[in-house]
Amino acid sequence: MGQEPARAKGGHNRIHGLINLAIQNFVMDSYGPQMWQAVAHAARLPDAEIEAMLRYDLTLTEAVLGAACTALNQTPDALLEDLGTYLVSHPNTEVLRRLLRFGGVNFLEFLHSLDELPGRAQLAVEDLDMPQLELVDLGHGEFRLNVRSPIAGFAPVMMGVLRAMADDYGALVLIAPVGRHGDGADIAITLLDSSFAAGRGFALAAGGAGGGG
């Protein structure tokens, strides 16, 4: 899904419905149901509704992303980064934001919890396709996140997620793509100030009286 279209390697040719559903909801919530109808039609989806708990052919995901890029006049990288931002910052994806906030009490802890993120996600949905994530601490607030997956396109999504999570924690962060190699991609993260702004609240209790949300 990056510059090159999403491509399966090593027989990995099915993808979890939750990922397709994320794309559907992103297009619907950001650009309206008509836009989704147009994308679904252009991608020749058999059903207008993606089913979250079924697995789909990866070609369907590629077709949807391709159609969305054409309809929205965006590059795949830009679209996927917007998708990552949407997953954290849109009110309809509050559940996901909360789950990510369980990673740490501040952005630094969150960064260090990223190695565990695939494991956490698979605790909830065991067959969810997740990239391998590895954080390298280069010192002086410089980090490098290696994103590795047989399914391309996770790296730009992670860029969007990181930017939105930095906002969520109130951290001031620079995030830039570094390069790709094989089935991996590196993201450079520079943490300038971990408490730059107030950030959004988070209480452990869901919808609790603790003022989080």
């Binding site: 939750l18 979250a52 956490r120 909830a124 869901a206």
Partner: protein
């Protein structure tokens, strides 16, 4: 030495409570302190702050020391009465009790606005809370899938029990309702309605006329039955009506005659007046649990008798003598 230990405990066990020789609390972790805030815990008697539920009947320092190493169940002596679990180890002349939330953790994080910093670094409480939320989100997605599948199944079933031409129930749906009525052992009546002149209309004026006539019949049957009754098309020109709660011959005769009067009026296809009439056979089920096929056979036999008596007649199945 003991200061070192409490420094260690405050990191390892933020929910520990140290009890001195007089049963008073001498030291406690920050998280357990938070449960009583703003009241200070240190200096209070252990029994004044905690109610020891298990082991039953044990109390005070002696009780805690006697239960050393075993499982404790406690309750906070404050309005929320939060349940805790714990374990005690004798320490000098006193005891150290380590506490945990157990299953009350979901309520506790809400009631005391606990954060990740309130749990020991190695505590899997945060993972548990994460899992509870993640699982309920995944369950919600599964439930939506199930609901949609169920909706699709009901739509398919609805299609399968509805006669596609008339929208009336079909034989399968009628048999299902009839079975329910038999099971319920409530009084009801089965009425079989047969159109006397349907075939000539269909053959002579074409299928379009036949379909229009059917629509007319459906309208009449709909108007002459109540919401809770069932009208089903069980054959080309055969209909079965089920009347729940009606078992009086007089009333059923009225209904049959009303239907026959409606059909006695000619039905117009363009300028052509089509004369139709209906023969009706009726049987009454009085809660004696005659099985459905028997009731249908009775209604059919009554219909045969009605036809035998002439057009536009209705007849009752003669109930066998009571046993």
């Amino acid at each position: 030495m003991s200061d070192d230990i409490f420094a260690l405990l405050s990191v390892f066990c933020p929910m520990h409570v140290a009890v001195g020789a007089q049963g008073q609390i001498t030291y406690c972790g920050a998280s357990v302190e938070k449960l009583f805030a703003p009241t200070r815990l240190v200096g209070q008697q252990f029994d004044a702050a905690f109610h020891l539920i298990r082991p039953r009947g044990s109390q005070g320092l002696a009780g805690l020391r006697a239960a050393q190493g075993g499982g404790l169940q406690l309750e906070l002596r404050q309005p929320r009465r939060t349940r805790l679990r714990g374990v005690a180890v004798a320490f000098g002349p006193g005891v150290v009790v380590n506490l945990g939330f157990g299953l009350s953790i979901l309520d506790a994080v809400r009631d005391y606005t606990l954060s990740a910093a309130d749990f020991a670094r190695t505590d899997i409480a945060i993972e548990l809370l994460y899992l509870v939320e993640a699982k309920s989100a995944a369950m919600a997605a599964s439930r939506r899938l199930n609901l949609r599948l169920q909706g699709a199944r009901l739509a398919a079933e609805e299609a399968a029990i509805t006669d596609s031409l008339t929208g009336l129930a079909n034989r399968r749906a009628m048999e299902r309702v009839l079975e329910r009525l038999v099971q319920a052992r409530a009084p009801f009546a089965v009425m079989q309605v047969d159109l006397d002149h349907f075939k000539p209309v269909n053959d002579g004026l074409g299928h379009a006329a036949g379909d229009a006539l059917l629509a007319h019949v459906v309208q009449v049957l709909g108007q002459e039955t109540r919401q809770d009754d069932l009208a089903a098309r069980v054959g080309g020109d055969e209909f079965v009506l089920l009347f729940a709660g009606i078992a009086e011959r007089a009333r059923l005769s009225q209904i049959a005659e009303r239907i026959q009067r409606r059909f006695a009026q000619p039905f117009y296809w363009g300028d052509v007046a089509c004369k139709i009439s209906a023969s009706i056979g009726i049987t009454i089920a009085g809660g004696d649990a005659r099985p459905a096929p028997v009731l249908l056979a009775e209604a059919d036999a009554a219909l045969y008798a009605a036809k035998h008596a002439g057009r536009a007649q209705h007849a009752f199945h003669l109930a066998p003598p009571a046993q």
